[in-house]
Symmetry: C2
């Protein structure tokens, strides 16, 4: 007998019929002799509807965050209660717990709170007698104010609950059947990954983004909770995200991803003297702009071009910061280029295999794809290329490394 | 400066525009220098919608009460949050408080809980700085389970909160402008009552039922909180329910009411011996059936007919109990008659005026209306008559006593 946390997203609880399906699945797990804690999202569309109401009633369109949280938290309250009703009606003792009842203590950052603690002992004990249905996405701060964890927060709730109760596994039910080696819409031969390490999953964020909030992966890694991403519409096994040493064999390249949400920023004709680069990246860091790739050209007559990439959400802020420094650093021009894409290969096996990066460059070169920037980590190599080559690059890399 | 509790019902918060109207009204009260605690119902139709969902998802159509409360409580949560958002957006600092946050402690009777205590001191203090918007109709039991007070419970929430914080007045905003001397649809000359005592209001329950949950009147009486029933769509004064000694003058008859929800039960040919009547009414009391009027005919050859009235909701239970006793008490027949109506005149001034009852009987007799049963209290006289005479009786009594 084990303790399982099962998380069902908005689509999985999107109608009364689907909630009943979820109840049947939970019942089956319970009947197999396991204790179950369920974490639910709001019914699909409900969170958007509630946020819409909150914005509509404020003429400023900026509802007070504390109250927006109270409003939005009602969405998961409804789905948790409905699932608990369905379970009880099927003869499975179940009780709902809202964030404050499950003692999911968060900080006070309304609409994007972070979990500080959960009373795992009480939850674990409660789950011995009944299925506990926890309203995802929500918690309460020290004073009892209702908080929400921000978009996709139900995955984080689920993994945090799993960590607190020391669950054997955290199952994330969603509308796809797992994580793929690359986007199947681009590469028809893409395969479902059976097992993948936390580190790889983090690096493949863009592949997993549709099935799993990446924030929850870090949490799973920290507490060693296996995360099983699987379909709520079938019984097939999905993808288990787990510790590297739990993988049967470490493949060299686990997945190929393309990130289109990347923007190249170039500061042209920058004065090349000590401390200049530190000043630029210091200012960016201070503004919470995460810089990904950096290229600095050879200095020519005391000036150089500095190029870096940021995510598209941060692009405007990065440009403002670059422009603010332009006069002082004698920058001729700040240029934004969003017609680029970052393709990456990821795999823990890369650590033990030399020449993987070189082979990647060769595969791209063979197709005449120019590489504009490169970044590497122990388990990932990324190349910045023109956006129009995105699909082509993914295809040749998938074929070259995965098959 | 005073402390005012304002309660807004489902119709008053039935749309975003109406919630903004409520916010403007609250703002005005606040700007007049008063502290305000608002109690809100769910948006009209929402409670029914949620109960419908809860019943639909349970194939038994009997959702677990604990979970139904969690589900339904989300309705007031939404309206409380929306009103708090609207207020803040208008520059009026406001915060919502759900039942558990306002420390509205109830017993554990889900879907019909009773309030045991409220932390009035904390609420009063909180209301000094901000408008407090309390979600009506809900509370939490000792273990933190969410409970609801049953239908119309928001009025009870409001008066209970007003009592706990020692408010100067509890204003109940609704879609009519007060309590009338009788139903204006029956008697066009019916007048709005400016002030009425708690006792009279309790006796006139059927007149006030559309504007005020009668359960809250008893609470107001117990704690001496004036209840001001008024329209949320106008600024006109409504009806103040208050202590008798606060009335300017005690009228003889404050109102005339007709109660159609009454059923006459007759046990025919009952064995007439000591203890029989006690046995009947003892059994009824044990089953929580409230008996209103009682008539016992003269005994004939050791047998009699026993007639009593009960509310129509209790009629079936009353018949079952009467039938269960039939053999033992040699009852020939149990007859239910719902073609009756109880007309009542109510007024604290009746205490000091002789002959009011006699005049009532005469007014009815003048119209040829037969009186089938009579019950009296210090401030009320009621007659049971054929249902078809209901409107006629109300008209002649209103004209005879009120004008």
């Amino acid at each position: 007998m084990s303790l399982v946390v099962q998380k069902f997203g908005g689509t999985s609880v999107g109608s009364l019929e689907r909630i009943q399906n979820v109840a049947r699945r939970v019942k089956k797990t319970r009947e197999a002799g396991h204790s179950v804690i369920v974490v639910v999202s709001a019914m699909s569309g409900e969170t958007d509807r509630l946020i819409g109401l909150g914005k509509s009633i404020a003429e400023s369109r900026r509802p007070r965050a504390r109250e927006l949280d109270v409003l939005v938290a009602s969405g998961e309250q409804v789905s948790a209660a409905l699932l608990a009703i369905a379970l009880n009606d099927m003869g499975v003792p179940a009780r709902s717990m809202l964030g404050f009842q499950a003692k999911i203590r968060t900080d006070e950052a309304h609409t994007k709170a972070r979990i500080k603690s959960i009373d795992g002992e009480a939850l674990r004990k409660a789950a011995e007698d009944e299925v506990i249905v926890v309203a995802g996405f929500q918690g309460a701060d020290e004073r009892g104010n209702i908080t929400t964890l921000g978009r996709g927060g139900s995955d984080t709730s689920a993994v945090a609950v799993a960590a607190a109760v020391k669950a054997d596994v955290c199952e994330i039910y969603t509308d796809v059947d797992g994580v793929y080696t690359t986007d199947p819409n681009v590469v028809p031969t893409a395969r479902k990954i059976d097992r993948i390490s936390y580190e790889e999953m983090l690096e493949l964020a863009s592949l997993g983004a549709k099935v799993l909030q990446i924030r929850s992966v870090g949490l799973g890694m920290k507490y060693g909770i296996p995360i099983h991403v699987r379909s709520s519409f079938s019984d097939a096994e999905g993808t288990v995200v787990t510790r590297e040493d739990e993988l049967l064999e470490s493949v060299v390249v686990a997945g190929v991803a393309a990130d289109k949400k990347t923007v190249k920023v170039t500061m042209r004709h920058l004065k090349d003297r000590p401390g200049v680069v530190a000043k630029v990246f210091g200012a960016l860091a201070e503004a919470n702009v995460v810089v990904d790739m950096i290229i600095q050209n050879v200095s020519l007559e005391g000036h150089t071009d500095l190029t870096f990439t940021v995510s598209s959400e941060d692009a405007d802020r990065a440009r403002d910061i670059a422009n603010a420094l332009a006069a002082e650093l004698e920058v001729a021009d700040v240029i934004l280029d969003d017609d680029v894409v970052k393709v990456s290969i990821v795999g823990v096996g890369m650590r033990n295999h030399a020449g993987i990066a070189a082979r990647m460059f060769q595969l791209l070169a063979d197709e005449g794809i120019n590489i504009e920037a490169i970044s590497t980590s122990e388990i990932k190599t990324s190349c910045l290329i023109r956006a129009k080559y995105a699909e082509l690059a993914v295809r040749v890399l998938h074929e070259g490394f995965i098959g």
